[in-house]
Amino acid sequence: MLGSSLKHPAMADFLFAAAGLVLAMVAAGLARILWGPGDADRIMAAQLLGTGGIAALLLLGEATNVPAALDVALTLVLLAAFISVAFVKGATRSEADGA
């Protein structure tokens, strides 16, 4: 359909570089986990890592020709949603308990 199995090697290099770039930016955002003056900021940095990680994963899968990376990304996004809700529930529950 769209695209072809013969990938231009420069294309693979570009996607690889893009994955690296996204990852680098997400890594910078992790500083917010370090400073973030509250659980909310930390959860946000983790959320950014999740979305960026998924983007990097998709790019990486395409660049290195691992089609299953798409399934891994699907799994990640579902578990990320689950974990985010668990985090928020965990944070609010402990606040309600007066900890």
Binding site: I83, K89, G90, A91, S94
Partner: protein, 311 residues
């Protein structure tokens, strides 16, 4: 190359931060982030099955377990935060960890070129099992006994968690009552996400026979969706004494064990499959095991009973 170094440094950095974090909750967030990065590493190493398992189980579900544990500990933690282990103990732990890491690194770096591997034999014999994914062939045919033991171990862990219930709620309902807000955000997300998640979970399980995937990964996704529905208040956790629940948990390992024992009669040894029926038998094992594992994992995260049954 630069990408690999960057990724490795990032993994090490997040790992180091997770270990050094003062607050348990922050450490859990770091742990989940670490797991995500590891999944990336596995994809980079062209091991998508491991990446799937890491993303689903190692990072996602274990993260859920740790979050509920850290929530329970938070009350006790504010009193314990000033306790610090003696320096000699921490030094000993650091030395031990460094030695283990150095040892593993040495083993990997000193492997002969090409490294000894059973992969060619695994591929060659795959046709006899009727499967197209060598990893699944290893898990369900060559080393099926390991998989059987894993399912039993999970069940034992669940029994261990249930035994933590106080006497007055023995056999009761795990977890607090989650209020469902009819127009709330959480209800919205759960109503949309859970059906899609169930579809994806079934897909990942089903595709495991020919592509990366399989029962553990699919079961984890199903479990996460059940927990999500529970957290949103769409369904309440079942009481752990319910017969249908216990039947569901036990059926997977029981079927696995039964087929394993009939292997004596039909094909000569435990968990041997007669060749023309291998794929069918594997499927007959996988479906109940997937359901059992999903239920087991979900209940592991739900925790010990906190409410009396029948309320």
């Amino acid at each position: 190359m630069a990408f690999d170094i960057g990724l490795a440094l990032l993994v090490l950095g997040v790992g180091a931060w997770t270990v050094a974090a003062r607050d348990t909750f922050a450490a859990v967030v770091g742990f989940v982030a670490y797991g995500l990065l590891l999944a990336l590493v596995w994809v980079r190493l062209a091991a998508p099955d491991v990446a799937l398992t890491e993303a689903a189980l190692g990072s996602g579900l274990t993260g859920g377990l740790l979050v509920s544990a850290s929530t329970r500990l938070r009350r006790a933690e504010t009193r314990a935060v000033d306790e610090r282990q003696p320096a000699s103990l921490r030094l000993a732990a650091a030395v031990l960890c460094t030695l283990v890491s150095a040892g593993v690194a040495a083993i990997v770096l000193l492997l002969p070129e090409p490294a000894p591997t059973l992969a060619p034999q695994a591929m060659v014999n795959m046709a006899a099992t009727g499967l197209g994914n060598p990893v699944t062939a290893v898990l369900m045919a060559y080393r099926a006994i390991d998989t059987l033991l894993e399912t039993v171990v999970l069940l034992l862990a669940l029994v261990g968690i249930w035994s933590l219930a106080p006497d007055r709620v023995w056999g009761g309902v795990p977890g607090p009552r989650h209020q469902a807000e009819p127009d709330g955000l959480l209800t919205f997300i759960a109503q949309l996400l859970v059906p899609v998640g169930i579809l994806v979970g079934i897909h990942i399980f089903w595709v495991g026979s020919v592509a990366p995937g399989g029962e553990f990964q699919g079961a984890t996704i199903l479990a996460a969706m059940w927990i999500l529905a529970m957290m949103a208040g769409l369904v309440d956790a079942p009481a752990v004494s319910r017969r249908w629940l216990r039947l569901m948990l036990v059926t997977g390992p029981a079927v696995f064990l039964t087929i394993g024992l009939t292997g004596f009669a039909v094909a000569g040894s435990f968990l041997a499959y007669p060749e023309p029926h291998a794929k069918l038998l594997i499927l007959m094992i996988e479906i109940p095991v997937t359901l059992s594992i999903a239920a087991t994992l979900a209940l592991l995260v739900a925790g010990p009973p906190e409410r009396a049954p029948g309320r």
